[in-house]
Symmetry: C2
Subunit: 396 residues, 2 copies
């Protein structure tokens, strides 16, 4: 019998996807060049040439039976070793192959991490603003998501509210730094305070509280900074990663879960993930994509365009009088809307072919997300349009 | 907190995987050429050259930003159209793009099909012998699996037992033709009787009973026959497919669910699958693999080696006095063991470096599975070893 729950879900589609579909449709009418589509987080720069060269070489030179054979359910052995070496050298934690589980993108990584450290009925705590898909990801495991309200001053963490909500029934905490949608990067100070509080509550409640750290934007950080690595601050951390943004490979769906070698049961978490896969129909990434990624493990796409775009848009939003925090990473900026109702604000913007995403689904009201992973030329062309929109609709 | 359920599952590993690991280890000791590893269903022939050529061309010629961009969560639009056209032309059912949902292999296909037409607490009926991974796949959706005992005369269906077990609480029926492990192909007569019975019970119980048809071996069929297509017999059918065997691409994880256009809610089942994905962390296959497959949609790897091997082994097992049904497809043969305890039988075979899989996990006792997707040379070399094993251990 048709499952009524999923049938009903069709009524509640992703706002972001719907906006992107509108933008594509409008593009067919007036030319996509004339639609300022800031809706989707789809990278706009080509992948590293090392990836492409390796995939071509594999198909030209390797035995296709071996190349396309089943990889072990935890991922290609060699690739897991390459990843462990890379993480060990970069972050100084003693990762080995056994700590790495290859996943189908960050989506697959979060699906496994959540199931590994919670059980149905549990609650996970996250922080606003947050990626709206966390809700179905977490609920799909039978787990509830509680949201600590945003600290809108700088989109770090409001520790008073965090401590208040970190009650005994919280099984895990989910963070995302650099953050979609705010572009904030959790500082070392924020991560140190968080780790201290988690350790205190673990002691008090006499149970583990795992930190699930979703880091697909780790490599997109500005002003020559680097992103503090959450697992280096807190032992019970599962790091979730995807190469979608750093290597501009979202369609290849290459991700992983890395268990901090000092975490509880660190040696068996990847094995447990293999068991979780059986129940949710998960397979590790394509064998050729895994090998291609391993050949480009220390490379990224040329990500500089995002910083250029950030600078242009941040200056423009300041100039136009928006209340806006300067993003330190990702390819998003998250200004306060010019009226309380962000949906109304974004609807008005659509009249000017500006496609912006209202913040309500990110757990904050009254803001909007601008995904500036588009060409700088289009960003520049959108500036007078933003100005016209704001002046006409809000008399600024 | 670490999930104790998955931790406990680590104690119950897949017997097939363990045997394959033993075979690999033994291979390192005495040379893998000397291990007659009949454990794993890993194709042994190269993929179609059309696939390889297209993947190389895509990487050499296409814009990498477009090529590796996110594909829609239901799969690449063009690829879904190609598949719908192919299925429509081949099987005469009016498939359109909207009926096709791209999945990460057959595993992903079954995960979605099951959730689309059952709800937690429901029961699905399948037939022995069955692929053991069905158990975690189905249980992972919160659904129980009931097994109709095998008709060991020919591994078609025992309709008396089937009707008896097709009670009002059965939400769906899962079949696998050609069958892993028996190699049986459900005849048109079997499928016609099954459809008739399902329609009768739908009428009687006043609810839909979906047929989930798992068909990864559809193209591996012998003696110039074709496999009757279950959806052509029964409207409420979800066809689950993988290109792992037909195109020898198991590591690329390319599969799909196709909803029979006459099924209940056929127009929204693929959309529902998109919602299901969000809760289980599923992503559609790699965009490049999808496009490569589309270029080889009407091709297969050269599958003739499997028929050669079937012929050799079937004759040998008959000669040695085994009770065995001649496989009509797949690359498996499923003879009766020479003692009631199939595990003991297979353990004795290991002394001769014959790696066979006992039948217990397939829902039948006293049989063993031989996966003959290996080189014909090795099959031939294994014949005197089978003979020695049987004569020494069972005095035949």
């Amino acid at each position: 019998m048709i499952n009524e729950h999923y049938k009903e879900m069709l009524g509640h589609k992703s706002v972001i996807r719907e906006l992107a579909e509108y933008a594509a449709e409008r593009g067919r009418e007036i030319g996509y060049d004339n639609v300022y589509d800031y809706s989707l987080g789809n990278p706009s720069v080509p992948t590293a040439p090392e990836y492409t060269r390796e995939v071509i070489r594999l198909h030209e030179e390797e035995d296709p039976v071996k190349l396309h054979g089943y990889s072990p359910s935890l991922g290609n052995d060699k690739v897991r070793c390459v990843l462990a070496d890379y993480l060990r050298n970069r972050f100084g934690l003693p990762y080995e192959k056994k700590h790495i589980f290859m996943t189908s993108g960050a989506t697959g990584a979060i699906a496994h991490a959540v199931r590994a450290v919670t059980k149905p009925g549990d609650t996970i705590l996250t922080f606003a603003p947050f990626f709206p898909e966390y809700m179905p990801y977490i609920n799909g495991a039978g787990v509830s998501l509680s949201v600590v309200p945003a600290d809108t001053r700088n989109f770090q963490i409001d520790f008073d509210k965090f401590e208040e909500m970190l009650t005994e029934d919280i099984a895990a905490v989910l963070i995302n730094s650099p953050n979609n949608p705010s572009g904030a990067v959790y500082s070392s100070d924020t991560l140190e305070r968080m780790a201290k509080l988690l350790r205190k509550k673990e002691e008090e409640y006499q149970h583990d509280i795992f930190l699930i750290s979703d880091e697909p934007y780790r490599e997109i950080v500005y002003d020559g900074k680097t992103v503090p690595y959450p697992a280096a601050f807190y032992d019970n951390t599962l790091t979730c990663y995807s190469f979608s943004k750093s290597l501009s490979l979202p369609g290849e769906r290459i991700g992983y879960v890395a268990a901090n070698p000092s975490a509880r049961d660190a040696d068996i978490i990847a094995l447990m993930c293999g068991q979780i896969s059986r129940g949710i129909g998960h397979n590790c990434p394509s064998s050729t994509s895994q090998l291609g990624m391993a050949a480009a493990i220390d490379k990224t796409a040329d990500l500089s365009v995002y910083e250029t775009n950030r600078n242009i848009l941040y200056e423009e939003f300041k100039k136009l009088g928006f209340d806006v925090v300067k993003p330190e990473g990702t390819f998003y900026i998250f200004p306060k809307a010019l009226e309380d109702d962000a949906v109304a604000f974004c609807r008005k913007a659509m009249k000017y072919d500006l496609i912006l995403v209202p913040s309500d689904n990110f757990g904050v009201n009254g803001y909007f997300r601008v995904a500036y992973c588009i060409g700088t030329d289009k960003v520049r062309r959108s500036l007078p349009v933003f100005e016209k929109f704001v002046k006409t609709e809000y008399f600024l």
